[in-house]
Amino acid sequence: MRALARDGSTSNYVVLAKEYSALGEPPSVLKVCREGLELHPESAELQRLARRAKELHQEQRLHDLNLELESAPRAALFRELCEIQLENGDSQHALEAAQRWRNQTDEPEAAYYVAAAHAEFFFDGRRSRDGLQAFQLAAESAKHLARDKRPLRLQFEIARRCGAWEDARIALARLLELMPGNPLLEARFRRVLSNCAHSKPLAKALSEVEKSGRFVDDEPEEAGNFDREALRPTLKRLAARTEVHVAFFLRGNTALVQGAHGPTADRTARAVREVLQASRSAARRMALGRAFEIRAEGSFGALVLKPGPLGTAAVWTSQIPKGEIEQLLEQLNGESPMESAA
């Protein structure tokens, strides 16, 4: 600590944070890391320590909250539990806690947290039923929590992302009543108002999102909108492996195929696209969220599809793919950086 008083360098902050972590004091570690990051925001080590300390602190807090809820359940504890779980992206636990709270007390705030958990499921999995449930529960809690902005924000976000502009406008107008003169909200309101001419009813907008798997502000996945030449070497390396029969890359209506030619290439690429579409839609409808890997295995080998940010990489192999094949698939779909062609 004295060394830090003399020299506020990154290494001295790291040393002090590690000393606190050895003592088992995550809140102190977090405090030191925050202080250090104000002076050295670029320090990767301090960022890592802060992240770790926050995780440990939250784990401990979750444990304590669960214990306390068993003995003396009350709104403040449920609220904190739901907030932490939603912040951690743990929507399933947040939903269970909020439903337990709602069953016990029937408070309108509990309905808001159930709505928030369903909204997270909707934003991730694009399942229309989750979106509708979240919107309706948010409306129900907004009715009872007249001065609370959170349910209205949630309604606005759901409606905006699926293109139900009229519902977005109504939620935003009520938010403006609570925060009159807010320049950001006013600008948003004008933008939403200009979109109202081509607004869709909420139920229709939600089911369109479920069908297409895309929100209105998502980038369109158009055919040919990628650098084929950059992908081809990786696709060739994949197809050159002895266990690989055919390698594919799909984006929009375009497919690159290595290892099959002519009508066979067309037919297999079409089949892979059918598997992809059926699986994406099934994952949404089964409330499993966004599909990121699909496998079909049998005596013919394995067909593996990996949808990613750039497109879908797929491979038909004689064995279940592992190691380098998986890495190449992830390079193709954009989940890991592309290696330069050797």
């Binding site: 939903l95 999995g125 037919r267 089949a271 499993l288 496998r295 079909a296 013919f300």
Partner: protein, 206 residues
């Protein structure tokens, strides 16, 4: 039927385990009561999401799973001569693993953090238990691959039919049907849709 699924529910990370007919009728569905308790409840005849944190009713889930398997098999038939036997759908909120059995599927839904590889052997073992159960009931002939899975009785009771019920159903069926296992053409209750008999569209150039 619970005995077929029970060992699967002991595996860490399992949210749901089910035996479903290949056309999506739930035969036995066990679902974890909540994230906190490791207890599984029988939801075979449950038509609405009633458990804490449950977002889809079991009947819809298994029907959608069977429909997905059907779609993948149909598309897979255009790639290779043989059809897939095991299906994995990894998604952000859970992973579905389905293993094909005798005119039925055994499926599990697991936590997204759990590797589906860990379920390859337990699922094969569950299919083997299903084979054995049907063999004991005189409903399975591996040469014909035509053993029909007994359907659940639609009663008011929420509990799944027990093995004894199936045994009783098997006897009743065998009495009405003169041919036994091992004889050709002796399975009148074969489910109408059998994806394994779907025609191939492959040119065989692989």
């Amino acid at each position: 039927m619970h005995d077929v699924l029970q060992p699967l529910t002991q595996q860490p990370g399992v949210k749901q385990a089910a035996v479903i007919s290949s056309d999506g009728v739930p035969v036995c569905v066990l679902e974890r009561a909540s994230m906190k308790s490791g207890e599984f409840v029988d939801c075979t005849n449950s038509s609405q999401a009633s458990l804490e944190g449950q977002r889809i009713d079991p009947a819809s889930l298994v029907a959608l799973a069977a429909s997905w398997v059907d779609d993948v098999m149909r598309a897979g038939g255009q790639i290779a001569w043989e059809l897939p036997k095991r299906f994995v759908l990894c998604a952000s909120q859970g992973t579905l693993v389905v293993q094909q059995g005798p005119n039925a599927h055994v499926m599990v839904v697991i936590e997204p953090s759990i590797s589906p590889e860990a379920f390859a052997f337990p699922l094969e073992a569950a299919v083997e238990r299903l084979h054995r159960l049907l063999r004991d009931l005189g409903r399975f002939d591996p040469d014909q691959n035509a053993a029909a899975l007994p359907r659940p009785q639609h009663t008011e009771s929420p509990a799944a039919p027990s093995i004894a019920d199936y045994a009783a159903g098997g006897q009743a069926m065998n009495q009405g049907d003169a041919t036994g296992p091992g004889q050709s053409g002796g399975y009148p209750s074969v489910l109408p849709h059998n994806p394994s008999s779907a025609p191939f569209d492959s040119t065989g150039d692989h």
